[in-house]
Amino acid sequence: MNALVIRNLVIAKGQRRLVDGVSLTLAKGSTLGIIGESGSGKSLTALAITNLLPDGLSISSTSTIEIDGVALPTHDAHAMRALRGAKIAMVFQDPMACLNPFMRIGTQIDEILAKGVLPRTARTTRIVELLREVDLPDPATLARRYPHELSGGQQQRVMLAMALAGEPDLLIADEPTSALDASVQAEIVALLARLQARRQMAMLIITHDLAVAGALAHDLAVMRAGQIVETGPAQAILNAPQHPYTARLVAARRTLVSEPSDAAHAGHLLVEVTDVAVDYAGRGLFGRPFRAVQGASLRLERGRTLGLLGESGSGKSTLASAVAGLRPIAEGRIRLLGHEMRPGGPALPQALRRRCQVVFQNPHGALNPRLSIARALGEPLGLAGIPHREHAARINAVLRDVGLEAEHAARFPHQLSGGQRQRVCIARALLCEPDVLVCDEVVSALDMTVQVQILQLLKELQKKRGFGMLFIGHDIDVVRWISDEVLVMNKGRIVDRCAAHELGATASRDAYTQRLMAARLSPLAA
């Protein structure tokens, strides 16, 4: 008997089919990974199994979902509630948002245990056991804490403990690691593998990350636009994908892992940062400033790409904004295109500002939703004093450079996809003809296939135009691929620096770099 069988699942919103005829089988004790990019319908499929679809969406009557050979009692709310948390457990993406901020950790786990027959004292012991099973230190004390006192990784472990509390036969994990830092991701993935092996649960992993799926799943199903395009054993799919879409996904990942091309030849010096410290203003009138960056030094030359690699909170974005003249520095000095910035010194002169441009992470927030693309692109031109009649020609030229059509200029941001918006942002930056381009996590919010396209675009543009690029990211493969030299940052300091291709030479690397490299999941092995 299979743990889960789905036949012809159709989820519709009015006339539109969001999931169109999905069928899959999950055997007991094995793991199935559903891979897809945003909008593929993978999360909806998972929600359908627990019958928790948002209002307005309906499951077609011809669809069947069976748990352990028994059809899902979708019409019996009471029976469904009994199943949830017990036979079927679900873990979501953002653990901080999933936990009730007003309840202690222990109490939240106890809620599930209370559905069973154990008396209170036995439940308390069980809670401690569960927390220990997910490798949380000092479980008894932790149980009395509130969610906001825990780190992201700890919160996700708590979520897993809650999921396990009901002794589930089926565990569904929807993007369990996407919201976590790289090093923590690897730990959670390892934990999931251990738990599954120990308890012999059936597991359904939903993710966009091939590496995560490859590390955990025995079988894979690839979803796109509501349909499954390919299924099969994980190894087979990842090594020899049949369907062109799967091939593209795999290729995207492979591209990044492949050996980067030769380091570019260095031009003259554009940016020189010496012993810089950057502070964040304290909260309120009496708060003390927080030192986000300390003792940072770097050099950026024309035609070269410098990668700033680090996890969240490492100070990489702060340092980059200081280099761009957007933040004052507290110590040290920055020499940008000949102009020197010192603590307490004057701000960057207008003429120089244009020559150092930034492309931001979130394409949603980077474009004014009220302005058409043409107007948004016209803004830097207008401010540079270029007469209005020349705008159209330049805009069309730059749109072509970034791989868009002239007709896109008439559209508004909400009419473009994430990747297209990011191209527009790059185009906007290019219109200023910058000598330095700062890319702050520019691909982190994009789907994988789109990520690779944007990265390739950036490399091409750099070759053509010769600007120096400061690339900030947290994904090792991405940063390594695009950079000539990589600086690794941790807690505000630069702890390691090397040529991009030397990142893997573990022996000569700093301990922190080694940890980051080890945390990388090998993308094509389970």
């Binding site: 627990t50 928790l52 948002p54 469904m80 509630r81 009994a82 199943l83 949830r84 948390g85 017990a86 457990a89 679900m90 979501f92 953002d94 948002a97 999933c98 936990l99 009730n100 901020p101 007003f102 309840m103 809620e111 599930i112 559905k115 509130y146 906001h148 006192e149 979520m159 809650m162 009901g166």
Partner: protein, 303 residues
Amino acid sequence: MKFLANAGFDLGRMLIQALGIVVIVFLLARVVPGDVVDLKAIEGDLSASQQQEMRTELGLDQPLIVQFGQWSWRALHGDFGDSIRFGRPVGGMVRTALPVTLVFAGLSFVLALVLAIGIAVGAVMTGSRVLRSLVEIVNIWSIALPTFCIGVVGILIFSVWLHWLPVVGSMLLPILIIGIDGAGQIVKPLYEELREAATSTHVRTAHAKGLSPWRITVRHLLPTAVPVALALSGLVLAGLIAGTLTMEVLFGLPGLGSLMLNAIQGRDYPVIQAAILVTAIGLVVVNALTDLLHRMIDPRLSR
């Protein structure tokens, strides 16, 4: 520790606000041309020297700062001076009027909260169209219909035409009116907040845990709404002030509002000052309490 520090900050801020109110009240009363002595001079036909004598006696020729100091000092001891119109100690008048207003305002406030929370929670839990429409109706009611207008209509219907209630003296109708008005101010934001919370990730997780709807509502949904409800209570209280003022006048209730209004019409400054002071300080205290409650309830703010 952080909890105490923040609570301390809030208290300090409240005290400064209270002080500010006191100063404003004092200054505004003094800014008006003509003072007690002028009035008495007109009434009692006093000569210039008699006026001067009276001024010195009452301390009115002192610089403002000194007057303020004297007044505050006395006020702190509960001595608000004597009413110009009635010659009685103001403190006593305020003390008689205060309980009436407290009962009135208190009951109205409770009614408002009960109504608002009941309707909002009911609407979210059951999704019933009736309750959702009720949310809109009550909301529009409080925005568009001034309480004194409703009061007049109420008197017309229940006292004049139906003779169910006396025209003056009964608190039933005004409490209902102010209560509904107060509920209307809270119910819509509360409902939206609850609805937002119902789609939030942690409520969805609670569903995924298979908990009963009751438990989800009480332990997962409501707690997110309490901070909002508390914040909104501040709004309700503000509305309550205007409401009690007009209602007391309209329905003939001998509370602080009536006292204040009569004093204003009669230019009885000591009474005005005392009454406004008591009201404002009361508001500040309640605001401080709600803030404190908020901090105590939300662990993110206290740890």
